[in-house]
Symmetry: C2
C-alpha cells in the first residue's frame, strides 16, 4: 500500500528526462516512450495532464513535443504526483466530513492528517532537479533550494521554515 501509481511513475520519469535533455528542443511523447519502454498512448495521456496542470508546455506540429514550463529546480515531486493522481490523502476519508459517516467516531483521523502533511512536505521539498543525479545531492546541500530540515510529528514542528518552497 501507499504506493505510487504507474502513471505517476511514468510522469516523473518523463519530467526527469525533460529536465536533463529538454533544454533546447521539445521532446515528443513517442521518443520518450521508446526511450523508457512505456506505451506511447499511455504516456501521451499523462503528458497531457501535466500540460493542463501547468507543469509542461506542448508544441504541436512536425517538430513538436513537450518542454518543461518552469525551471526543474522549482517543480516539486509533489506537484507532479498531485497533477497526475489527484490530491494525495493518507486517510480514506477526505478532509470534508460529509462523506465519512463515522466522522465523529473516527478518532485517528486527526493524527493521521498530520502524518499526511509531513509526507507531503517531504515530497514538496524534493524537486525534479534533485531526481536528476543522486550523486549530486551532496553538492546540492549547499544550494539554497534544498536546505536541511527537521521533521516533527505531533502538533508542533520545530525549526524555522527557512527553506524556500518550490513554487507556492
Amino acid at each position: 500500500m501507499l504506493k505510487l501509481t504507474k502513471k505517476a511513475d511514468y510522469g516523473l520519469i518523463a519530467m526527469k528526462h525533460l529536465a536533463e535533455h529538454g533544454e533546447q528542443c521539445a521532446i515528443s511523447a513517442k521518443d520518450l516512450a521508446e526511450a523508457y519502454g512505456i506505451p506511447q498512448e499511455a504516456l501521451a495521456k499523462i503528458l497531457q495532464r501535466l500540460v493542463r496542470g501547468g507543469l509542461l508546455v506542448s508544441q504541436q506540429g512536425t517538430k513538436g513535443g513537450y518542454v518543461l514550463a518552469r525551471n526543474p529546480r522549482l517543480i516539486s515531486v509533489l506537484e507532479v504526483i498531485r497533477v497526475i493522481d489527484g490530491p494525495l490523502l493518507l486517510t480514506a476519508c477526505s478532509e470534508g466530513d460529509a462523506d465519512c459517516d463515522h466522522a465523529t467516531l473516527c478518532t485517528v483521523r486527526e493524527p493521521l492528517r498530520k502524518v499526511s502533511l509531513s509526507i507531503q512536505q517531504v515530497l514538496s521539498k524534493l524537486t525534479i532537479w534533485d531526481l536528476r543525479e543522486p550523486k549530486l545531492s551532496e553538492a546540492e546541500k549547499q544550494a539554497p533550494s534544498f536546505s536541511p530540515a527537521l521533521v516533527k510529528l505531533g502538533d508542533t514542528v520545530v525549526m524555522p521554515p527557512q527553506g524556500d518552497l518550490p513554487r507556492s
Copy 2:
C-alpha cells in the same frame, strides 16, 4: 493516491481503542465494530491479520476478544499498516528488479526509494500510544518514546516547513 486503505484505517482505530480501553479484559470484534460503525466481519478479518502479525492476541470463547500483544508505546503505526496492507512501497515496481522490465531504464527509482524510506521513518516513529490523545502529544515530547524524528533524504536531511503547505 498514496492514501491508506480503509482496512488500515479500521485497524488503526481498533488498535487505538484497545490501547485506551483494553488494558484488563479482551474486547470482542463485535463491540469494536458497533462502537465505530464498522461492519463486523470486515473488522474481524483485519483483527485476524493483526493477530497473525503478532500485534494482537486473540482469546476465543464466550468472553473472548482481542488484546494488544505489546505495550502500545512499542507498536508503531508503520507496523500496523504493514501487517494489514503489506509492505508499503512508493514505487510501483518493488525492490527486486526481476518483475520490472525497464529496471535498467527507470532512473527515478533510486531517489524515490529514499523518499519512501523517509516516509517509513515518519510512520515508524509514530506509535499507537501517540494516537491516543492528540492534545497530550505536547507533553509526550519529553517522553523518551517519542523523540523528535529526523527525516533523512538520501544524504541530506529534509524538513517540512511548519504551517501551511505549498498549494499548487
